[in-house]
Structure formats: C-alpha cells, structure tokens
C-alpha cells in the first residue's frame, strides 16, 4: 500500500519539476538566482541588510540587495513600457534615455524656475511630476503617431527623439544646470524616518498598477494580437493603430515616472549625461525576460526580472571592482550566455540530453 503511494508522488515530483523548467519564467529566474548565488559565493555578506542611520540621523536600510532593488527602479519601469511597445509594434523605442532628459529638464525647470541654486521649490512637486509625465507622454505620442499612423519603423521613428531629446531637455532647462532643494530628493532616496528607499516603493506601485491593468483590461491580449498579426486583428474588431499608439503613450508615461525618480536621486539633471545608454539596457531586459523582440509576446514578469538581473550584474561588477576596461566585456560575456541558453537550438540540445539521460536511468532501473 505504502509502496504504491510513493511511486505516483515521486512521479508527480518529477512532472512538477518538468512543468517548472518548461515555464517561460524559468530561465530568467534561474539566471537571476545564479547571479545572486555567485555574488554570495564571492562575497558572503552580499545579502546582508543592516539598519543604519544617514548623516541626519534617520534610519535607512543598507545592503547590496536594497541597492539593487533601489537602483533598478528606472530600468524596471521602462522595461514595462518597452515590453508593450515591443509586443505591439514589433520594434523598440530607442529614445527612452533622451526623453528622460526631456522629462528631467521639464521637472527641473518647473521646480527651480530660472535660478541655479534656488533655496525653495518654485512649484509643488506634484505639479512637476505631472508635467514631467505629460512631457513623457507627449514624446510617446509623437513616436506613436510616427509608428502607428505613418507606419515608420519604430527604430527609425524613435531615432528622431533619440537624436534630439537631450538637446531639447537642455533647452527645457533654459541652458541652466540648477540643483533643487533636498526635499525634492525624497522620491529618489529616502523619506526621512522611513528606512526603505522611496524608489522601491514607487516600483512596487508601478508593478502593482501594471499587474492590475493586465488583469483588468485587455492590454496584454490586444498588444499581442496586434503584434502577431495586425491585419487579422483589425478584422477582429481591434484598431491596431490605436493600440500601437497607446503602447507608445504608456511608454511615455513610464519615461515620465522614471525621469522623475532619476532627477530626484541627485536633485539635478544633466540632460547630456543622464541615464547614459539606458535604452539598450531596457531592450536587453525585455529580451532577457523571454520576450520576442519581433513582437507578439507580453512576458511582463520576465521583463521585470530581466531588469533586476541587469542591475544585479552592474552592482556585482562594482562591488567586485572589476577592471574598468573589462566591465563591458564582462557584461557582454554574461549577456551572450544568457541569451544563448534561451535560444531554441540550445534548449533542444539540453532537452535531448535530458531525454537520453532519462532513458539511461530508466534502463538502469529496469535492469535493477
């Protein structure tokens, strides 16, 4: 009796493992875990989180994990928007870094007016935030019109703002380089007395909203349908142009939030150097999450995990003090590995291996 009971349960165990390993999030999560374990192996205190105090005596959480969660904020938020853009328009928005410069420029101008070192905020922060988001959404709408209405390739359409965005950001600031008062810094750092970095809370909020939006609306289904086959989607009553446009506006909104957090981090914005090269990291995060860059997949959780994976990698290369010239190489090698294990060719190779080993083990059992 007992003997009979054991057998199905082990079989079930095997099949559970099989379903897990087949799950589309398996590789992204496994890789993130691998990176974290590697970090712990190299630096045993990597996961340690301690409660410290900042120079004003406020309690703050300190630890690599906190830093990763904190610093990945912009990447995570942008990856959410980029996932939708990629899925619906079969291409990427490469202007996100430049539009963050525009958003940052607008926010700084609203908060600081025409002074370089204002002693107080010239406008409520909420107004700056809303105008920043509006600027981001206007940029998104501009890209969206080019892609959805004029059917220009996303990469080409967004190249316009990619090229011009940082200069526009500088113009928005009136050529000044102001630094806002430190109370603006609460959103990119800590709210005094609360030990968790505010960006982590903002990330949680944005992820929650995204989750609800995907659950409570047809955002996911529509973007995928349009990305896979927009002719057919139209004949099913969808409006592909509208859906693509919407994806770009949502991307713009994400840029608005990310720009707000980013400019709050040091309370100043340098449009020419803010978030250098982030667009490629965002696209990479989307790809790492198992989304097809050719459109049609919305693996939101994957993109978010991809963003955290990249931030973990960055953080790791810093704490390990990797030679500065070797950093890009290091990053490239790890990314190649990560992308390679997700390709069908490699997957098949491993599944075949697994089959063979299973057959061998089965034979072993039989002979025993």
């Amino acid at each position: 009796m007992t003997k009979n009971n054991i057998k199905p349960s082990t079989q079930r165990g095997v099949s559970v493992f099989k379903t897990i390993s087949k799950h589309r999030l398996f590789i992204p999560i496994a890789f993130l875990m691998f990176l974290l374990l590697l970090n712990i192996f190299i630096k045993p205190g990597f996961l340690r989180i301690s409660l410290g105090r900042d120079s004003s005596g406020n309690p703050v959480l300190i630890g690599n994990l906190v830093n990763i969660l904190n610093n990945a904020t912009e990447l995570v938020i942008l990856a959410i928007g980029m996932t939708l853009v990629t899925a619906s328009s079969k291409g990427q928005d490469i202007s996100v870094g430049s539009t963050i410069a525009i958003v940052g420029g607008v926010i700084m101008r609203v908060l600081c007016g025409n002074e370089t070192q204002p002693t107080e905020l010239k406008a409520p922060i909420i107004l700056a935030f809303l105008l920043g988001c509006l600027a981001g959404m206007v940029c998104g709408a501009f890209n969206g019109i080019l892609v959805a209405k004029f059917k220009i390739q996303p990469m080409v359409a967004t190249l316009i703002l990619f090229t011009a965005g940082r200069s526009i950001g500088s113009m928005a600031m009136g050529g000044l380089k102001p630094k806002a008062v430190s109370s603006f810094g609460y959103y990119g750092n800590f709210i005094p007395g609360f030990p968790i970095p505010t960006p982590i809370l903002i990330t949680i909020l944005v992820v929650a909203i995204t989750y609800i939006a995907l659950k409570k609306t047809n955002l996911g289904l529509y973007t995928r349908a349009v990305g896979i086959n927009d002719r057919s989607s139209r004949l099913n009553g969808l409006n592909p142009a509208k859906i693509k446009f919407m994806a770009y506006v949502i991307m713009g909104f994400c840029v608005g939030i990310a720009g707000f957090v980013q400019s709050s981090r040091v309370q100043t914005v340098n449009p020419y150097t803010i978030v250098p090269g982030i667009e490629m990291d965002v696209i990479l995060a989307v790809a790492l999450g198992g989304n097809s860059l050719g459109g049609g997949t919305v693996n939101m959780a994957g993109s978010i995990i991809g963003a955290y994976t990249l931030q973990t990698l960055t953080s790791m290369l810093t704490t390990l003090n990797v030679n500065t010239n070797a950093v890009p190489v290091f990053k490239a090698v790890i990314i190649i590995l990560l992308v390679a294990i997700q390709t069908p060719a490699v997957k098949n190779f491993f599944s075949n291996k697994a089959k063979v080993s299973k057959i061998i083990s089965n034979q072993g059992k039989e002979s025993a």
Binding site: N218, R224, N229, R234, L235, N236, G237
Partner: protein, 504 residues
Amino acid sequence: MQEPLLTMKNIYKSFPGVRALQNVNFTLYEGEIHALMGENGAGKSTLIKVLTGVYPMDGGEIYIKGENRPVHIKSPQDAHKHGISTVYQEITLCPNLTVAENLFIGRNDELLVDWKKNNSRAEGILEELGIPAKPTQQLSNCSIAVQQMVAIARAVDMDCKVLILDEPTSSLDDQEVTKLFLLMRELKSRGVGIIFVTHFLEQMYAICDKITVLRGGELVGEYKVMDLPRVELVAKMMGKELGDLADIHNKAQTDNENTKEVIIETVGLASNSGVKPFDFKAYKGEVTGFAGLLGSGRSECVRAIFGADKVTKGKIKIKGNEVNITSPLKAMKKGIGYLPEDRGRDGIIGDLSVRENIVLALQAMRGFFRPFTKAQAQAFADEYISLLNIKTASADTPVKSLSGGNQQKVILARWLLTHPDYLILDEPTRGIDIGTKVEIQKLVLRLASEGMSVTFISAEIEEMLRTCSRLIVMRDLFVVGELEGDDMTQDKIMYTIAGVNKSE
C-alpha cells in the same frame, strides 16, 4: 521490376501528445507522379517534412536509388544534396529578385557571378521547360503560376530526382493548372519522380499514376489511380462510406421556404478596393453565395459590407435601418461576422492560443476594460472545441500548430461565439480536407435553419450549388447576375460569368 527511386520504410514520428506518423511506408519510382492523399492532420505534411529533413524522424529508414545504405537527411540542404527538392504552396523565392537570380541564387560558392552567363543559361532552362518568363524579369511581376514554375525549374536545374509539390495548385486558375500539368509531364518524361500533394480530386485523377492514402498518421494503402474510383478514395481518406454529400442539397432547398425577413441590404455599395456599386439582399435563414472567377470581386463585395475596405459609395441597411459601417468593429456590433479568405494572413493570429483566438472577436466587442476571466474564456473555448470537433492538444496550444482545417474551425468558432445575425464565410473550405469540408457545409445549413443569414463563398462551384439557395454572379468587379432555384446549375453560372445569357 525496376529499382525504386525512393523508399521510405516504417517511418515513425511523434510530437508531444500526437503520434503524427506510425509505421508509414512510401515508394516512388522514376517517371512516376505519385499523389499523397489524406485529410488534414493525416500526416502528409509530416511525412514530407521528415523526407526533407525539416523534422528528424523517430524511427524508420529512407533509401535513395544509387546509395546503398539508408540515408540520413538532417536538413533541407541535405535533402537537396540527395536530389530531393520541394516546392511549397507559398512561394519561397525572393519576389524582389529577377527570375534568373532566383534560379541561381545561393547555389554556388563562387564570389564572382557572371550574370550574363547566368541569364542566358536561365533563358535556356525556361525555354526548355516552356515557362513563359524572361530571365531578367522581376519575379514579383510574374503570375503566381509562373512563380511556381520558376521554383520548380530551380529544383529541376539542381538535378533533383525527387520533386515534391505541396499544394501547388491551390492559388492557380484552371488555365494555369493546365500549364503546370504540362510541365509536370515534361519532368515525368525525364524520369523525375514527383510527389504531388493536393486536395483537388479532379486534378489528382488528371495527372497522377499512383495514390498513397494516409489517415490519422497511418498508412491506408497504395493504389493505382485507375483501380480507385473517387468515392472509394474519399471513403478511404475519411475511413467511412460517404453518403452524406447527397443529402445536403435537398435540405438547402427546403430552407428556401423560410420567412423572408431582410437581414442585410446594400444599395449601390462600392469600396476603395475597386468593386463597382452593387445591390444585395440577404434574408433571415438563407444561404447566399457570390460566384465568379478569382479576382472577379467576390471577396471585395463582402469586405465592403464588413467595413474591412473603405466604403466609398452607397448604403448598408440592417433589418431596414441604415447603418454607418466604417470599421470591422462597427460591423461586428451590428451583428455581422466575417471569416476571411486568407486564413493565414487575415484569419488566425498564429502565436495566440486556440482559446484566445476563439474569444478574440467577442472580446473586442465587449471592450478593452472588460476582459473575460480565464475561466470564462476557457468555457467558451471548450464549448466550441467540442461543438466543432476541433482537434487540438489543448485550448492553450498556439493556433498555428493546428492543421489547416482545424485552424479554420477555430475561426468559425470565433464568429459563432459572437452570435451574428449575418455571417460571411469567404472560402471557408479552401485548402482543407474533404471531411472537414462536409462538416462545414453541414454546419452552414444548420445555422441557416436556425435563422442565421449566411453568405458562403467558394471557388468550388459544386459546393455553392449544394449549400446556397441564391447565387450572386460576378465578373470583373461587377455583379452580372443573380441565380435562384432551378436556374442554379453549373452551366447557367458559366454562361452568366461568360456573359452569354445575361439574365435580369
């Protein structure tokens, strides 16, 4: 007896959850045209993909004349090396290159190419095979038939011994088919063995020497064409005797007696697709059809009604009220459903699951902010999967991995789920097996008897004669006639299309 050109022995192939091929044997001799027949999902495509190295086989052996040992074909390139070439239904050449470039591209490793020499060589090949194309002509400027012939010429010029033609005729008209057959006979006389996959029984009987029938991944048998009359072939393919077809027509006749409530009416409707203003009425419980040659405007008419093309002129009335249909969504909300002609491009959304494909249209009508829960969607999917007998591993399977007929059923399910008053089916039976065809025709009649108004378009006139109670006949984007009752005969339709006996 001579040695066979190709022998496939005891071939096995399975996919997760499906045994696609089980112990299948196939033999092909030199100068033989051998038809591979079977319903969708019978294993024809799988067998061909195994032969051409697209799929690795799980078991079995393949022998090719002149090679002593069983060959191991790892890839389509490998298949080429063994002299096996395939021409698919969809043209796989490069439309933006010239005919000559398409003939020779990618075939040698030389860095420098003498295009002058190639062009004159191409001219020779084209002439020899009687293909009406110039070497320097851009491929996209040739008709589909010529493109197909160029694809065949390319294969032949690459010294192929075995030529596989996978549904080559489904987008050709009769004249083009005749030309293709001439070419096939020419190749046959040169000793090429041809495997011909088709759904068209007449064509198969016109050209083939032998038939191999598959059903459910198993071999039914190999027959000489003369020994196997049509009815028997169909029976073998379906695995049962076929008495159903005869019944259908009678039923359609009785449906004619329905109460005559007008569901939809167009007055001088025209669209930017070029279709000329046409008047059309569809009654409750009636099956109407649009007949005409390819490109005569059949699809364009129904696309205009559905709002798929931009309406430029005219009015649409639904149940007597004038409506303004500017997009498919508006048409859907007015109770119109449309199964499009091109299943792959306009119908399925390949990477979405069967479930998502089924609920998509209803979901679009319901609105962005009111998604179905997964349980609701699953319930809909389950209902229609069993109702239409859709063969799929599960509702989560991507629709693109289903066979053609089952994909078509998914799209049908999608529209039935919206419970339309007026359902347009544009070529619902194209490229699908005879069993499913019958099922779909029966379904159409049942829907009509339940009060739905259906428009059924098919390239096969007999199909329309069986199912429709009224036919709109089209020529060159004009409606040239309307046939009803006893007038609905093949001859009458031909005359109307040809403009000899203009009724009205």
